[in-house]
Symmetry: D2
Subunit: 315 residues, 4 copies
């Protein structure tokens, strides 16, 4: 198992990998659902059949309003009224509030729309990057997932497999290790599955405090770019990591974040970022199973490149 | 079936009704889950068992950024970057954006926290209204639902029963009519169920355009305050209306919005507002069944009085 | 005096007018100050010499948080803390709040940066419109005015001249009428002056309520495009109207808002929008003079296309 | 001259100082202008007479959108449209944007309303702290300064006097040192003057980078609480510091920020925070005079506890 990249990929090697992962045209030239197409009604029914003990578990980090090294754009939250304000209805009162959030970044649990990433001027399916305008995206926006995403979730719990609390920043997970984790958990990522990928990122934050997970800081643990071939072969439908899937520093020359374009732009893979998987890991341990029903319900936010959300696992 | 209130309730009658509906103390003095307590693991398992055809359906109105008579606080949505901004990573680009939303009101699909409503200085369970501070709620905030709400949904489709497109503003639905709808749909609201209550509010908006649903305008269709006794008897766990459950003008003297305090403050009922039930109504018709699995995933927003959300029905 | 446009200008006529008004290159190829260059230190000294009675007057509409036909983007204003929140400093308390504002539009008093307007792909001075990026303006942003704008203000009070409370929407003011107002007020717009242009727009709003001043509504009173030749000849430095200078409907075929590109893009004229000139008009009447010192202090907001501000007149 | 507090004040001593500085009732029981009352028309005329060389200088820090140790609430700034968005008006385009700002704090130049501070449940003039509600202030809000503040500014440049670039955090300036600076600059703070107080805070930030100026960090340079007696005696009308006037750590036991309640609550002194005085200090040096006209134009923001603003000095 490779701890850190032994050899860097050149851009040419990256581009070859990009080509090999492409799902462009597979679901038609104007498809906006990408790998969500793998989730057939049958898969949803099978996912629901996993609900046995009736427990539901959040995979969201509580909305964070405190600036820090991994949160340069803290959410803003204000009360609008509290119960001491007379609303002209006798002794009845309503308290209301406001949330503002630039939800991408390393500290807000969110899902990416396919339009979020462009590589060489193109979005997934070869659509032009210019379709994301200053007023928002004209296609591949988050409303493509408006009816929610329902499927079988499989937790790939790498720290558990390794017997550590978390992977240190910079550590890279290979396809071989993913398969080893599968074996240890007695699960196998299959067509239409939602891969929940745990590096322990959030646990490290809870125990050690926030750090800068970017190139100006310590970095983060994530995937080996070549591991994505496994996800393609297995026809994984969605990817829910506790970091954002990227290893920082990355294994590619001249490209800081190679995983996102490979997953989103090449594969059309439904991706989320910055999940909180600590509750989930504990429940999987208690249940002694690493598969469960998953329901994702991003806001129906026209033109948006993603959405904050609360991903739910049901056992 | 009563079209509009024949007789007004006095405040004393309202208070008596409030007392009769109270679930205070039922689940302990510091309970923050209210009727969510009705949803046992067994109920969740039974809800999942309803997933047969593998269809999922949103119940959310797309986030609305346009001011109007029912949307005095339009959401704000801005792009932060588009793909023509160099992020220092070669030909890779990220597009990001910002959402700001005062989510209560008549045009944003949202769920209420129990702390949202106070009556006579008290929240649900007799907790002090002052626990909602200018910095947010110290208890009964929306994080009480952080792990999501999963259960059996039952659509009470009143316009379908009446053979109309929608109920006109001011029309009030009684317990008797709810029971008649149940009979017509061959369903029965039972312990732990999520009642989805359709008046056709959003369809009217789609066809006729926005109107002012408040006291300064045309009003809205909703429930008869006395109908809530039925919800209490049946131990309904959650209430998802397409308006907000209120009939405006209301049937109570000196209290503009009687339904909210009865549901939320007295009963501890999990309530949402402003759903879009048109897709759901169509799918129920196609499936010829008015029960389904429901998953609600409000944001885990500490101190908040509610959350925008995308409620999902699964068939 | 022309009440409404008798004859429409063709686009070709508009373009000829645009050419005739151009100040491009006058102050160098990379100038970002435009007509502000007319305000020499001597002009500032002369403006200060107008301060005789020591009265200062706001020209700002109070920040408006209420959506309406002329305010589709209401400002958002929330408290962050009030004095009942303990800040850990004994009996000392700080109350703080938040303002959010999309300041362009018809209801927020604001100043435009030169980059705000593009015509045929060009900003003032022939700079490329693409220099306004999705992350803000790379040149001609509002920080060009960071040190404030100080000069002699001259109120051109058209309703006073006409003996009416306000000009009705659609009414267009010609150069001849501006000269007639000057004569009536015994003032003359001269090099470096700040032209304060009153149509009574805000008074109409105060007395009749808000209306839609756009093409979907009643429109607004403003300038005749040809009147700008007078402003160019006189070397006016800044333009502060109570509407936004535009007559709606406009006198140009195929161009909804001809005044802005002529003023800002062709002339490099410092322009503001949506002032409140009712206090000023009253004070001018009391003082029996229509000239005064003006100080404009837009926020130093890097990359911005303008700023909310409180324009001040001093007598 | 005391570098740091030799002796701490007890709360009782603080309260005695508070009493001795009180201007409550001086201008009537419902006065909302405080020391602004010292600025008579004659003072404004005299201030304007200081305009000799016709230079204007900003005293604002550019709006800061980057989180940091002194900026936990960065401003949010987004484009709404750029010039590539067709607005339905031929080749004419408008670029527009949005600013959101929680303007109090240590990094945004802003002015405080008198309602901003409460001590022992009271605002300036003995008004109840509860008049600042969750929906904003019912009195003493920033609109009390709507017509702008115009007067004579006097720069008290302490680092210049000491021959240092800036005062280090924790350094406290006494009344004696203020008088020594006056002597060195040949100025004297007099009735109705605007005291501009430079510690070099912002220059230190520019040269050394941001630091935490609070109790969790290095602190900041400011005034000795006893120095305020001088400001009261001299009838200073306004106070514009480059930090916020506070010395941190402060010289009072059990009260973290003693200067604000003394200035704002006791004296009714018009106070601002976080100015950028580096341009001003340079111009004063060039002009060899430390007095000038000042114009302050806070936004007319109903209910607000302050406003972001761009303070302007004119020479």
């Amino acid at each position: 198992m490779t701890e850190t990249a032994q050899t860097k990929l050149t851009l040419a090697q990256f581009d070859a990998l990009f080509e090999s992962l492409k799902n462009w045209g597979v679901w038609g030239p104007r498809d906006e659902k990408g790998t969500l197409n793998y989730i057939t009604p049958e898969k949803i029914r099978a996912a629901a059949a996993l609900v046995k003990t009736g427990r539901s578990v959040t995979m969201e980090i509580p909305v964070n309003t405190v600036a820090g090294p991994d949160n340069p754009n803290p959410a803003i939250y204000y009360m609008n009224t509290t119960h001491d304000v007379d609303i002209g209805s006798g002794e009845l009162r309503f308290a209301t509030d406001f949330l503002g959030i630039q939800f991408h970044g390393d500290c807000h649990t969110h899902i990416d729309a396919l339009c979020h990433i462009a590589y060489k001027g193109q979005l997934y399916n070869g659509r032009p990057a210019s379709s994301v305008t200053p007023r928002g995206a004209l296609e591949q926006d988050i409303t493509a997932y408006a009816h929610g995403i329902v499927g079988r979730g499989v937790l790939i719990d790498v720290p558990r497999y390794r017997g550590v609390k978390w992977l240190e920043p910079g550590v890279m997970v290979t396809a071989e290790e993913i398969e080893a984790v599968e074996a240890a958990e007695n699960v196998r990522l299959s067509e239409g599955d939602i891969m929940v990928f745990r590096t322990g990122h959030h646990r490290r934050r809870l125990e050690l405090g926030a750090w800068d997970p970017g190139y100006t800081g310590e970095g983060r643990a994530g995937l080996d770019p070549y591991s994505l071939a496994l996800l393609k072969t297995r026809k994984v439908a969605a990817f829910l990591p506790d970091g954002d899937g990227e290893t920082v520093p990355a294994r590619v020359e001249g490209l800081l974040y190679p995983i996102h374009p490979l997953q989103i732009t090449a594969m059309g893979l439904v991706c989320a970022d910055s999940l909180q998987l600590e509750d989930l890991a504990r429940v999987c341990e208690e249940e002694q199973r690493w598969e469960f029903m998953v329901v994702l319900a991003p806001l129906c936010l026209p033109r948006a490149t993603g959405s904050p959300f609360n991903p739910i696992a049901i056992f």
